[in-house]
Symmetry: C2
Subunit: 248 residues, 2 copies
């Protein structure tokens, strides 16, 4: 007996609310890849960027273009002047280190560390998530390339997730709990790039340089540029983002 016409109509799946996620989007290569990964998992995205007094504000233009390209539900840009506190080469008037060796890149806490930055950013992402009814927060931190940053380590993430569920009405009342997702945590830059390319990321729109030229061209020599250039090279590719003519 052949199937009746009605039996080949697929059953209507039960409606379920779309889960929302907050994605910290700097406009760099890592957070752009994380955004693509969160979308692949089916989340409705609330992107969050910060204008925090960083030297490299061109990141924010990139974040805007990347959020628009991804078609996020909302992109919030929060102003928070961490430069008022000083204390980092990214926010204070301290030169950005250039041309550091591979050994220097992998040891110690670099001067580009911004005091408590990831704690501040995750706290604000938590506030935004709670208001939006989101329980999933994604960020692009990485324990391999940035081994020197204390707030890029798994134990930091675990401690923050624990805090989030004690600190908030939504976390305390349940039944859902906040989860901090750092899908790049144990990936090399080359793996991150390969992952993002497979997901259709347009890395020509991303900006990573700590000390770009006024037109936004990357220096090619700071830690962020070096790691990025090596990541593309390991994939047999050249970086599609713009570099100053003397660089790269």
């Amino acid at each position: 007996m052949s199937a009746s016409p009605s039996s080949i109509v697929p059953p209507v799946p039960p409606l379920r609310p779309v889960a929302r996620a907050v994605v910290l989007l700097s406009g760099g290569l890592d957070s752009t890849t994380v955004l693509a990964l969160a979308q692949q998992q089916g989340y409705l995205i609330h992107a969050l960027s910060f204008r925090y007094g960083q030297r490299h504000e061109h990141e924010l233009k990139a974040a805007h273009a990347l959020a628009a390209r991804a078609g996020v539900a909302h992109h919030a840009v929060l102003e928070i002047n961490l430069a008022q506190f000083g204390g980092s080469a990214l926010t204070a008037d301290i030169p950005v280190p250039k041309d550091r060796s591979a050994h220097d890149l992998s040891t110690g806490i670099p001067i580009t560390y911004v005091p408590a930055r990831n704690t501040v950013f995750l706290s604000l992402a938590l506030a935004y998530a709670e208001v939006q009814g989101a329980f999933d927060i994604f960020l692009g931190i990485n324990a391999l390339d940035y081994s020197g940053y204390p707030d890029c380590r798994p134990e930091f993430l675990d401690a923050f997730q624990r805090l989030a569920n004690l600190a908030t009405k939504a976390g305390v009342e349940g039944p859902q709990k906040f989860r901090i997702h750092a899908p790049l945590l144990h990936m090399s830059k080359a793996e991150i790039i390969a992952t993002g390319l497979a997901l259709g990321c347009d890395y020509s729109l991303t900006r990573s340089c700590y000390d770009p030229a006024p037109d936004g061209a990357a220096c090619g020599r700071c830690d962020a540029c070096q790691l990025r250039l090596q990541g593309f090279a390991k994939n047999g590719l050249s970086d599609p983002a713009p570099y100053a003519s003397a660089a790269a």
Copy 2:
């Protein structure tokens, strides 16, 4: 034998560096008392206030006057527009509850809860402390009067202190560790007021009302006003701060 003149000159104490502390100063009664307690313990004070889109911005004028009166080393006022996220009667266009019963005051999480506010404020205090070389952070949260706020509980403070020492260069490298001090945590409002008066606090300068008149006069009816008025009454005193003529 009588003491020689030289023996009654007290020995010169060895010089030691003054410890710095960051004090979260809202301009309310609680944080003003905490500032006095931190000063009594000998800390050099870096006060930190926030302009976070709150209705009761008159708090900030009070914070400025109180920091000046206390002679703090520095008073930073950081702008951070939490109202951009919405979601609380203190920052969004939601009416502030008035005339709630003693039972209502002590149960549930009130609408004046600002999502993740204390997490955000402590994170920024941590950033400020790390830059200033301070390891002690004081805040005026209270587990009795505000039992409904998840981020006013001891387990929240413990989790944040743990996070702080994982998240920062200063906390990881040691030998000093960050400490979060909440000396009012288990005090009633009446005990807080008695403590502050003994330390010379001028409570006429402090502002607590969630919904003041345009001239800054307190409403006398919101949760914060009610708790404060009761605290003074239990000490046999009237509140020296200004109230709207219809109130108090």
